[in-house]
C-alpha cells in the first residue's frame, strides 16, 4: 500500500509541476489546510474581489451615490459582464446578459422558446434528470404558454422529439452524476425535428468548452457562482442567439429591457440585443463582485481548463480505485471523457450513509458535498485544484470508509 501511495504521490507531484494552470491557484484565497472540491457548488474567492467590492461600496455608492449609475458604469454592467462571460461559453459578444437567478432566466428562455414555436408544437421536453428547479420552472412556463411539459431521460430525447415538440430544455452536465450530455448532437436533433434547444450551463460554464454559437444553440442560461467564482448567489446569465433576438418575447418585460428606459412611457417597446433579457434594476454589489471575479480567466483558454479537468478526474478515479476497497463506492460519473463533466460522483454502497461519510471527509479537510440519497460529489475546478489534492482526497476517503462500517439494512 505504501509503495502504491508513494507512486501516486510522485505522479501527482510530477503532474502538478507540469501543470500550466498551477500558478492560478495563487489568485484565490485558499490555504492548504483543506482540499476544496466543492467549487461546483460555490467557487472559491478570488483574492482581489474584496478590495474591488470595498471600492464599489465606499466610493461608488458612498461618495458618488446616484451619479455612479452613469459614471461608474453601473447601468451597463449586465451587458458588459455578459460580454466577459460570452467567450467562456463560446458566444460572440452581444448575446449574453447578466442578472436575476438561474431559475428566473430558465423561465425567460423557455417561455420565449415556446412563443417562437407554432401552436401545433404544443410540447416542451425537459431533461427528466435535470436539476429540479429547471423542471419546476419549465412546468410553469409550459402552463403559462399553453404547452404540455414532457419529462424525458436525456438518452431518450432524440426519440421523443417530433412534430409536437416546441422546445427542449437540457442540463449540459447532470448536477448529481456529473454526466456530460451531448450538446452538439441533441441541439442538432432538436433542430432536425423543428424544435428549439435551451441549455442550462450551470455545471459546464468555466469547466469545459460549450460552443453555443458553433453548435447553433438557441437559448442558454447558467449561474456564475460555481466554476465562474462570482460569489454566493451571484447573478445568473441568459444567452439569446443573435438570430432570435429580434423575436425574443420576454415574459418579464421590466423597465430595464425597454428601448428607452428613462423615457418612462406607459407603452412597452423592447430594446434590441441582449438588453432585452434584462428585467429590473441590476443588483450592483453582487454584479460587480462577479465582474472582478472574472479577471482570473484573463489569458486562460477554456480548452486548457478542460484538458486539466479530465486529467484531474482521471487521476482521482485512479486513486479511488487504488485506495478504496472494491464495492464500498461506485463511480456514477461516466468513464468516457465525452460523457464526463468536471466532477466525480461516487455512490455509497453497502448501506453507507453518504451524508455521514461526507461529514467525516470535511472534518478531515476534504470538502465535497453529497446529494440524497447516496451520492458523494467531488468537484474539480482546474484553476485552483491540483493533482496532489486529488490524491489526498482519495486517500482520506479510503481512511474514512475503512473506519465507517456499512449500516445493516433493517
Amino acid at each position: 500500500m505504501s509503495d502504491l501511495r508513494d507512486d501516486l504521490q510522485r505522479r501527482a507531484a510530477a503532474l502538478d509541476a507540469a501543470d500550466v494552470l498551477a500558478k492560478r491557484r495563487e489568485l484565490f484565497a485558499l490555504d492548504d489546510s483543506a482540499v476544496y472540491l466543492d467549487g461546483n457548488s460555490l467557487g472559491a474567492l478570488p483574492c482581489h474581489v474584496p478590495a474591488r467590492v470595498a471600492d464599489v461600496i465606499n466610493r461608488e455608492w458612498g461618495d458618488l451615490l446616484i451619479r455612479s449609475w452613469d459614471e461608474s458604469g453601473w447601468w451597463t454592467a449586465p451587458e458588459r459582464i455578459g460580454d466577459r462571460i460570452a467567450p467562456l461559453v463560446g458566444a460572440a459578444a452581444g448575446q449574453v446578459v447578466v442578472g436575476d437567478s438561474t431559475s428566473v432566466n430558465v423561465f425567460k428562455a423557455v417561455v420565449a422558446a415556446a412563443r417562437l414555436a407554432p401552436e401545433s408544437r404544443d410540447e416542451i421536453l425537459v431533461d427528466a434528470t435535470t436539476f429540479p428547479t429547471d423542471g419546476y420552472i419549465a412546468e410553469s412556463a409550459a402552463r403559462m404558454t399553453g404547452k404540455r411539459l414532457v419529462p424525458v431521460a436525456p438518452a431518450d430525447l432524440p426519440a421523443a422529439l417530433g412534430p409536437r415538440t416546441a422546445a427542449v430544455l437540457v442540463n449540459h452536465v447532470d448536477y448529481r452524476t456529473g454526466r456530460l450530455h451531448d450538446l452538439p448532437g441533441l441541439t442538432a436533433a432538436a433542430h432536425a425535428a423543428g424544435a428549439l434547444a435551451v441549455w442550462d450551463l450551470c455545471h459546464s460554464a468555466g469547466a469545459l468548452p460549450v460552443g453555443l454559437d458553433a453548435h447553433h444553440v438557441d437559448f442558454a442560461v447558467g449561474c456564475t457562482y460555481k466554476y465562474l467564482n462570482g460569489g454566493p448567489g451571484s447573478p445568473a446569465y441568459l444567452y439569446v442567439a443573435e438570430r432570435h433576438q429580434a423575436a425574443f418575447d420576454s415574459p418579464l418585460p421590466g423597465w430595464n429591457s425597454h428601448t428607452d428606459p428613462f423615457g418612462m412611457t406607459p407603452g412597452y417597446a423592447p430594446a434590441d440585443g441582449a438588453a432585452r433579457g434584462r428585467v429590473g434594476t441590476p443588483d450592483i454589489l453582487s454584479m460587480l463582485a462577479l465582474e472582478a471575479a472574472l479577471d482570473v480567466w484573463d489569458g486562460v483558454a477554456v480548452e486548457t481548463v478542460r484538458e486539466k479537468s479530465l486529467a484531474l478526474t482521471d487521476f482521482f478515479l485512479e486513486c479511488v480505485d487504488a485506495y478504496v476497497p472494491e464495492g464500498r463506492v461506485v463511480p456514477v460519473t461516466p468513464a468516457a471523457h465525452a460523457e464526463r463533466g468536471s466532477q466525480v460522483s461516487l455512490r455509497c454502497d453497502g448501506g453507507l450513509s453518504a451524508g455521514e461519510v461526507m461529514r467525516q471527509l470535511i472534518a478531515r479537510g476534504v470538502v465535497g458535498d453529497f446529494r440524497r440519497p447516496d451520492v458523494l460529489r467531488f468537484g474539480f475546478t482546474p484553476l485552483y485544484v491540483g493533482f496532489a489534492d486529488a490524491e489526498r482526497a482519495a486517500r482520506v476517503l479510503a481512511q474514512v470508509l475503512a473506519e465507517t462500517p456499512g449500516e445493516v439494512p433493517a
Copy 2:
C-alpha cells in the same frame, strides 16, 4: 431678502436642534459638502455596511466557503431579512420575503392575485400613472393568465372597480409627482368590489407608515435601495398576506420555494409561509449588505419618520415659495399631507429645461434628479436630511433659476 433668509435659516437651525432623528445622520457616510436629496432613488451608505460586507466576503465566503449556507445563515436570509422589513411596512412576521427585483416580484404578485380570482373576473386594473415597470409587468401577467389589463388613473379606480375586476395594482406613492395614494380607501374599495389589492411600496416603505396588515392589503412589493438604504439594486421584497399564503400559486416556483429543496425531487411541492415567494439561490452579498443597512432603523418608529418628513417637505415648499420668483417652478406634489409622500416634485415652467436646472443644482451641491420632460425631484429622507439642507436646497434652486433664462418656445 436677507431678512427673509436669516429668518428661514434661524428657523431651520431651531428645527434641526429639536429634531429627535438628527443624530441618525451620523450613521451614514455623508459629508456636508452636498445636500443629498436623491435618497428616493438611491439611499445613502450606512457607515457600518462596508465592514459587514468585507466580513461576508472574506470570512463567510473566503474561509467558510460552502459551509456558510448553514453556518452563516445564508440559506434563511430571505425570510430573516423579510422579518426585519415587516415592521417597517406594518406586517406581522412571516409574510415578507426578500429576493429578486421589484419587477419580478410584481410578476409573482399580480399573477398570484389573478389566479385567486374566479374566471369571470377577467380584468386587472393598473394605476395608469404608475412607475412604468409595473405596467409592463402587469401587462405580461395579464397576458399569461388570460386577463385583460386596464390602465386607470388612481382617482378613477373606485369607479372602475366592478364584477370583472380580478385585482388592482397601485403605487403607494407616485414616483414622478410624489402623490400619496389612499391605500386604506382603495384597498377597501377593491375588497368591496370583490377584487384583490396589490401595492407597490417602492416610494413609501421607510418614509411613512404603510399598515399592510391593518388595512388588509393582499399582496405588496417594494424595493430596498431607496428609503431602506440597501445599496444599488439591492434585493426587493414580496408580501403575501398570511390568509393568502396557502393558496399562493407562484408563476416562478424555483427550487428555493420547495418544501424540501434539498430533497431534489422532480415533483414540485411548495413550501408553506413566506418562503413560497422565493425562487432561485439568494444573492448573498447584496442581501447581507441590505440586512446590515437595516440596523439604522433600530429604535426608530416609522411614525416619527413620517412626522419629520412632512415637516421637512412643508419647510422646503415654504422656502421655495419664499426664494423663487413666482411662475418659475410649480409644485406638483400635493400640499395636503394626506396626499404627499416624502418627496417634492417641482415642474419647470416657462420653457426651462429640468435636466439643465438639475445639472446646475448638482454642480452647486444640491443633488436631486429629474424626470422627463419637466419635473425636478427632491427626496427627503428623514434619517439623514435636515431642515438646513431643505433651506439650502431651496436657496440654491432660486440662484440657479435666477441665472437660467427660460427657453424661448420655437
